[in-house]
């Protein structure tokens, strides 16, 4: 076993990538390791010769087609979605399949500077020898341009707008100029950028429409069905509880279903039976958050309760997740409790009472 905490996609799935390259029958675009159809198989699963290719992204296959087609047309790709919709995951696997290299990454943060996007200098060398190729430190995008491969920009909307603007010229001109060395480096065929951005997180810089126009935009959805979402949640909660020693029983299907139901209804703004619309709270209720509140209530139950997640534990975890901005969220939750949860058949009554108790104090 490797000591590395987290392997890159191309290392983890080296065998599958090799098998796909070996079984290649279709034309391969310049700079790519395999044909677009093989990339598609790599992402959604299938077979290459005798090797079974495991699916990496489950659900919206058509979106994967759009993403790959975009990269074929040398346009850049922007994956947008709520937190926990596998944006980075998809971008990593796309580059792993297309270039066999998913490591040309820029992590967008508030501290990302224009130099991170373009290039910077080894200042010791710069002072000693003046501007030279040796002293130049190239950004991942610079490297991708030179090698005709794909660079990734994670969380692009977290970067300040002037940093985002630096991307505009790179994406439209497809070249970087280095005035200090009086030269210009053109991108090789195959160069492109996959960026990811978060739509609902607060404290995110808006992307300018000039930058948006340079991307083909694909919006990744939350899990399509409640069954799919429950499956994801259950698997992840199990993994988490093992690694975190939560000392509580894994919540049964019934509890998972309740959480997923409430989350989906708030997220979609409509009840599962599509009969009633619901106001949406200010926070993002992603699948990832559903996982964390279940783990949270397990921790509560394990450390302070009887080791089994009760409606009380669940209610406090829900209250914490849903009511973020005191007045408006708690009204929204109350309205949901009264108009939806109270009237629901089955064993919702207990949970309703606990939630109501916690949420009281609102007029």
């Amino acid at each position: 076993m490797s000591e590395i905490q987290r392997q890159s996609a191309e290392n983890l799935f080296q065998k599958e990538i090799n098998a796909l390259i070996k079984a290649e029958k279709n034309p391969v675009p310049t700079g790519w390791k395999m044909s677009p159809r093989s990339v598609y198989t790599y992402i959604v699963g299938g077979k290459a010769g005798r090797t079974i290719i495991t699916p990496k992204y489950i659900g919206a296959n058509r979106l994967v087609e759009i993403a790959i087609s975009t990269l074929v047309t040398d346009r850049s790709l922007l994956l947008i979605g709520e937190p926990g919709t596998a944006k980075s995951w998809l971008s990593e696997h796309l580059t792993a399949a297309i270039n066999g290299d998913s490591t040309k990454v820029i992590q967008g943060t508030a501290g990302t500077t224009e130099e991170n996007i373009r290039y910077t200098w080894n200042y010791a060398l710069l002072i000693a020898k003046g501007p030279s190729d040796e002293a130049l430190i190239k950004s991942p995008i610079f490297n991708a341009m030179e090698s005709g491969s794909i660079a990734r920009v994670e969380e692009i909307s977290r970067c300040a707008s002037e940093v985002q603007d630096a991307l505009i010229s790179i994406l439209s001109e497809k070249r970087i100029s280095i005035p200090e060395l009086s030269k210009e480096v053109p991108a090789q065929k195959g160069f492109s950028v996959i960026a990811t951005a978060n739509t609902r997180d607060k404290g995110v810089n808006d992307m300018s429409s000039a930058l948006k126009r340079r991307f083909n935009i694909v919006v990744l959805p939350s899990p399509a069905s409640i069954e799919q979402e429950m499956e994801i949640v259950k698997t992840r909660v199990e993994q988490l509880s093992n690694s975190l020693d939560l000392n509580a029983k894994i919540p049964n299907d019934d509890v998972v279903e309740k959480v997923c139901t409430i989350f989906r209804e708030f997220r979609d703004g409509i009840t599962l039976d599509k009969k009633q619309k619901i106001k949406q709270p200010s926070g993002v209720l992603s699948t990832a958050e559903a996982i964390s509140i279940l783990a949270n209530s397990m921790a509560l139950a394990g450390s302070f309760g009887k080791g089994e997640v009760t409606n009380y534990d669940l209610a406090s975890a829900l209250q914490g997740a849903i009511v973020k901005d005191e007045s408006s969220d708690s009204k929204i939750f109350l309205e949901y409790l009264e108009n939806v949860m109270k009237k629901r058949e089955g064993d919702w009554e207990e949970l309703y009472k606990e939630c109501k108790k916690l949420n009281s104090g609102v007029k």
Binding site: S69, T70, E335
Partner: protein, 793 residues
């Protein structure tokens, strides 16, 4: 062997290829799958004034109204084949079952299915019978899974085939044959499904009849050989119609006679007409052959195929999208069109398609124009894909079912005598007439009201309601009726919305809601559907209301909706509303109540222009808590209670709420006295005090006048004001009391006399304002005019 051509209905490529094949084969007779009793309409297809889309329409004039509609667009293979025959003077016939048999079969089968289904329910043992392992899934589901949509499959494999040799027909025929075998398996495996069995039988009967029609042509004219005939049907039927296919036997005269007997037994008489159709309507019809989801796009496809330039369709589609988006004020550049074209081609390539399909174009459009979201491109897509084309038929060619339905209703409801070109007034009493025997006559006036409300909704100017004053009894309605030629035209136009007045009016309301999802409009349509006596529409709109208005913060809109709902519930019995509808209306009312009382807080700081509407809204909610027992009024009372002392909200509302609670007995006069003292305290701004008082007086002057203590405090308050403060407050105070009647003012004067211990004539104090005083007020008003509107001083 005759020449069989299987096609897909509404297929541009089919329309192109059939013309090509007809030119090549030059047949003597062309037989087409359409109701045979419409053969006489064939010459009309070529009338110069006729513009597709139009439809052939058969309908029964007796209830239940049933229809057979076959729409034709310019890209319908059948339409192009008929045109070819008319141009080349070749005999053309429709050979499918006549419409009366179709409807009669449907009526009998519906009844039979219901009967069998209910029997199956009672007879549980059937479930224990033979089970087949073959799990049937609709062919459309299978295609959907593999190709994203079955339309995409059709388009890529059938509409985009290159037009040499018989590629098109080969593709369609093999698809039709496959469909047939799946249908057969389906029938085997679902032998417990009664509906399925009858569909299967229905297809057999149709094919058997069509086969007999083909043989009849051959028998009646010895000069015509099998090769001289072209048979044009849906690809599914091609196999069954082949003369050597023993699986389907031609219908015998005896069999036909028994079908006609059925028609007689059901008393099915159909009227036949052509009717104008629209691309919009075509796009709304679901199901094979009945419609297609993107008529305008298919029209573009028809043009592209005729120009042998399939490559252009993507460009035309995407440019049209860009144009429409720009028209709406969105950003859409030619550079984006280029990117979208490239993406659509790349998507087609990834799926082994030669040309992008509509699905690829839509996705390219979503990605390049819509930033991944449907919002900004939705309208442009609708216009580009569905289009606004409406067919046209010359005057007199159309005799639609809705005109017939109108006349039936007029006779049924005994309104014929009012159908004149002069105005007639009708007065309706909606209550049950207990002096008559039949239910029909007992509710004659109610049914008249439903009918007239439906016409009013449709904008057919046959009737106009005379609105009477609020206090007159609600079980009476008055209408003016008048017939004119415009009414006739409006009726034909309505036929595009539905086959009967009832269905058309429902569709009209649906369209209205689709266009305008505001609270007031949906709430209006809910009330409308109630007045029109359309319970299904009512429950449908209630669901829509809940869907559409969840994010809304329109407090007053919600309150007005509550008012409408209360009306519905109050008059529900009078208008014979169903129990379930009544329940869901009450349910909605309760939900709305929760919503508005939670919203009230946020709306209390409204500006003065909204005060009237707010007070009306508060009255509505209050009425709700009084009239409906199921509503918990404690919450309401405690909310009002909190309002009365809140200085941060509009003080009219605080004053008004105080008076309301006093009236409801929630406050005692002593409580109110305390509130008044509080609002008269010197630390509170004069404007607040005066507004509060005015709000209070809006509801309950009597209580104010009666309570001498209040006047004592008021007197103390006014004498305690400094000169500057007095100048400010006197204006507000004056306004608060202007609406008092002279006798009320007299009572106030009595109070003041007692307080001041003076004994003079009331007229000494209660005088009309002098010019001089008015000037002073006006001057005062101008000083603080910017704060308040004193126009009505």
């Amino acid at each position: 062997m005759p020449n069989y051509f299987g096609i897909r209905h509404l297929s541009p490529n089919g329309a192109f290829n059939i013309r090509r094949k007809l030119d090549e084969l030059k047949p003597k007779v062309v037989l087409i799958e359409s109701p045979s009793d419409f053969t006489s309409f064939i010459p009309e297809f070529s009338n110069k004034e006729v513009k597709p889309p139009f439809a052939i329409l058969a309908f029964t004039s007796e209830k239940p109204i049933k229809t057979v509609i076959v729409p034709f667009a310019i890209y319908s293979p059948e339409y192009q084949a008929v045109l070819w025959c008319n141009e080349n003077k070749v005999e053309c016939r429709f050979i499918d079952l006549p419409s009366d048999i179709v409807i009669s079969l449907e009526l009998s089968l519906d009844e039979k299915i219901k009967e069998l289904d209910s029997k199956d329910k009672d007879d549980k043992s059937i479930d224990g019978g033979v089970k087949y392992n073959f799990k049937y899934r609709s062919i459309y589901d299978l295609l959907e899974k593999k190709y994203g949509s079955h339309e995409t499959f059709w388009e890529a494999n059938i509409e985009h085939t290159n037009n040499q040799d018989d590629n098109y027909f080969e593709a369609v025929n093999s698809y039709g044959a496959e469909l047939r075998s799946v249908d057969y398996l389906n029938n085997l495996s679902n032998s417990n499904n009664n509906k399925n069995n009858f569909d299967f039988a229905n297809n057999y009967i149709r094919e058997s009849y069509m086969k007999a029609q083909i043989l009849e042509v051959l028998d009646n004219n010895k000069k015509i050989s099998e090769e001289d005939i072209v048979i044009l049907t849906g690809a599914f039927h091609t196999e069954g119609l082949k003369l050597d296919n023993k699986g389907v036997t031609p219908m015998t005269k005896k069999e036909l006679a028994s079908l006609n007997k059925l028609v007689k037994a059901n008393k099915t008489v159909t009227q036949k007409t052509l009717m104008p159709y629209s691309y919009f309507k075509l796009s709304k019809q679901a199901g094979y052959g009945a419609g297609n989801n993107a008529p305008n796009y298919y029209h573009m496809l028809w043009n592209a195929i005729n120009n042998s330039d399939l490559d252009s369709i993507g460009i035309e589609y995407l440019t049209s999208i860009a144009r429409e988006m720009r028209e709406e004020g969105h950003n859409a550049s030619s550079a984006q069109v280029i990117d979208a074209v490239k993406l659509s081609k790349s998507l087609a390539y990834l799926n082994n398609r030669e040309y992008p399909t509509l699905l690829d174009l839509q996705d390219a459009c979503l990605t390049c124009f819509g930033e991944g979201e449907l919002g900004s491109i939705a309208k442009a897509r609708t216009i580009t894909e569905i289009g606004t084309t409406i067919g046209y038929l010359p005057d007199g060619m159309s005799n639609t079912s809705i005109q017939q339905d109108f006349n039936n209703n007029i006779d049924d409801l005994k309104l014929r005598t009012y159908t004149t070109i002069t105005t007639n007034e009708v007065s309706l009493d909606l209550r049950e007439n207990i002096h008559v025997k039949s239910e029909k006559s007992a509710f004659l006036d109610l049914n008249r009201s439903f009918f007239l409300h439906r016409l009013k909704t449709l904008g057919v100017h046959f009737c106009s309601q005379i609105l009477h004053s609020q206090d007159s009894a609600s079980f009476r309605e008055k209408w003016n009726l008048q017939w004119s030629t415009e009414v006739e035209i409006e009726l034909v136009e309505s036929s595009l919305l539905g086959d009967t007045i009832e269905r058309a009016s429902i569709q009209f309301m649906r369209n209205s809601i689709e266009e305008d999802t505001s609270i007031s409009n949906i709430s209006k349509q809910i009330l409308n559907s109630f007045l029109c006596g359309l319970p299904e529409a009512l429950s449908e709109f209630i669901v829509i209301f809940q869907m559409e208005t969840i994010e809304s913060k329109d407090f007053i809109g919600f309150a007005n909706c509550i008012d409408n709902l209360m009306n519905i519930i109050n008059y529900g019995n009078l208008r014979k509303m169903s129990k379930s509808n009544l329940e869901s209306t009450i349910n909605m009312l309760e939900t709305l109540y929760q919503k508005v009382i939670l919203m009230l807080d946020d709306n209390l700081s409204c500006d003065d222009s909204q005060v009237k509407a707010m007070i009306k809204a508060i009255d509505i909610i209050d009425k709700l808590t009084i009239d409906f027992e199921s509503i918990d009024n404690k919450q309401w009372l405690s909310i009002l209670d909190n309002i009365t002392d809140n200085l941060n909200i509009n003080q009219f509302l605080a004053g008004y709420s105080t008076a309301l609670l006093l009236e409801k007995g929630f406050y005692t006069p002593e409580d109110v006295e305390k509130k008044i003292i509080f609002h008269l305290s010197s630390s509170i701004d004069g404007k607040i005090t005066a507004n509060w008082l005015e709000g209070f007086c809006m509801k309950n002057r009597y209580q104010l006048i009666l309570n001498l203590n209040i006047w004592k405090y008021l007197d103390k308050y006014i004498s305690g004001l400094g000169e500057e403060d007095f100048k400010r407050v006197v204006l507000f105070l004056r306004r608060a009391f202007t609406k008092f009647s002279s006798s009320e003012k007299d009572s106030i004067v009595d109070n003041l006399k007692e307080l001041w211990g003076v004994n003079i004539a009331n007229s000494e104090i209660n005088t009309t304002i002098t010019k001089q005083e008015l000037e002073v007020f006006k001057n005062l008003a101008s000083i603080i005019d910017d704060e308040y509107d004193f126009d009505n001083i």
